[in-house]
Symmetry: C2
Subunit: 272 residues, 2 copies
């Protein structure tokens, strides 16, 4: 199992498969192609110190009152944005206050046979579940450069990002990633391979990033972008990137390119 | 890029990265470790005939009226179940009839600046988005065998499955997969690596399956399981598996084991 390191801005931590309890979190890229025996022998989750920042998450934080980051508004990874993405459960207003089936008020209770607090309708008894959202996007390669979009919308207005957005019902992750790229950069792309899954539990999001390439060399800003441009790996504006997930993705990509070893990455990002 | 084939039961089709328009769908496993040049040279989505069944999905099916498979009730992949998972949009009752913020009725409209029909509150104007759900699970390996659970709940009562369920807010996919394994098989596992992502757009689900191993050789049925057992690859009861996603996952796993080449797989399952 290979360890990867990255120089990340302070303010968030990245962990391997399972979040470390020591608050010393690390980033690991998993070998997706490995003989069973080889993988087994290296299975004990390796830790490599990446950042030594206080990790805000603690045991027991997985309570049902934790809310996702809100509706789909092309604003993934809002933890990097000014909007309040994650607040302590005790102070967080329940998101589902009324039953969307019958319109009556809900109450926060632990349903029979379950362990977590859910919003349950006081009239019809319907249990309302909230689940993480998938954010899908493309790392578009073209002549050794990657395509970035400068955001025309909040959060992170004016910062650069990979084209990405929330997956819709009825499409696969690859289809959603291509759609977002078309919407944000007017670029038709061909999906090459899955590149990374980055879970951000504290805001209820999971990024699925695909490598892709332009079908034609055309791109231009869509309605949600101020500008679109190709950057060589040395030119990537790391001090002006919109989201932690994009920083991590691009850092991993650069390392892979440098090593000549592109692979699938899985990691968890714990943001403050 | 390697092509993988599998003998799957009729009734659903599996496609590679992008769904094929020819209705001849195929299954491809992506090389997650490959030099850029190698991957690029083989990027044109290869097709290998796997099943030649009519594909029920067509262009334009990505409308906003398509609904997800419903609440979280430990019943992923309901397309294999008797419950009505997917109905034609025209006949499907809108799921979000009332605003969960203020309790007033919603209407189905295309919000300004968007292209899809959404449930929008007639009083406060809140737009209600619906997104696919992530199902996370473990392929637990032990002495050359895999751990399966016989379902004690509907759908697919009495059929075998990998321990899996809906990802919760506040946990990573790997944590969720380990939790589900603990709940369904009372087994503490160590996550080894991501094994597969299987999107099922027609029911709004995406499976993320991890390879894992038992921390101790203990397991027993949890509240939602009738029985848990280890199966050698030759003993897997393919005629009694609960969900298409589980069939596909196990077929890919067997092929990988036989070839001595375990890798990460991404595919889309189109169910009838």
């Amino acid at each position: 199992m290979m360890l990867r390191s990255a120089h990340l801005p302070l303010g968030f931590v990245v962990s391997p498969l399972l979040r470390c309890n020591t608050r010393l979190c690390s980033l690991v890229s998993l070998p997706a192609i490995a003989p069973l025996s080889q993988t087994d022998s290296a299975a004990v989750c390796p830790q490599k110190l990446l950042l030594c920042t206080p990790c805000p998450r603690s045991r027991g934080v997985f309570g049902a009152f934790r809310m996702s980051s809100g509706g789909r508004d092309s604003s993934p990874d809002v933890g990097a944005a000014p909007r309040p993405a994650v607040a302590p459960p005790a102070f967080q207003k329940p998101k589902i206050c009324f039953c969307h089936s019958c319109g009556n008020p809900t109450k926060q209770v632990v349903p029979e046979g379950e362990e977590k607090i859910r919003a349950v309708c006081t009239a019809c008894g319907k249990i309302h579940y909230e689940n993480p959202k998938m954010v899908v996007g493309c790392l578009v390669e073209h002549n050794g450069k990657v395509l970035l979009c400068k955001r025309k919308i909040e959060p992170s207005y004016g910062l650069w990002t990979l084209p990405a957005g929330f997956l819709e019902i009825g499409e696969s992750a690859a289809e959603g990633a291509a759609r977002e790229t078309l919407e944000e950069a007017c670029a038709e792309v061909e999906i090459l391979s899955p590149f990374a899954q980055l879970d951000i539990p504290c805001i209820g999001q999971s990024y699925i990033i695909f490598r892709a390439r332009l079908k034609t060399p055309h791109f231009e800003p869509g309605p949600e972008s101020l500008e679109c441009a190709l950057f060589s790996l040395e030119e990537i504006p790391f001090d002006s990137l919109a989201f932690s997930s994009i920083i991590v993705t691009l850092k991993m990509y650069i390392e892979d390119i440098k090593s000549g070893n592109l692979k699938f990455h899985y990691c968890t990002i714990n943001k403050r």
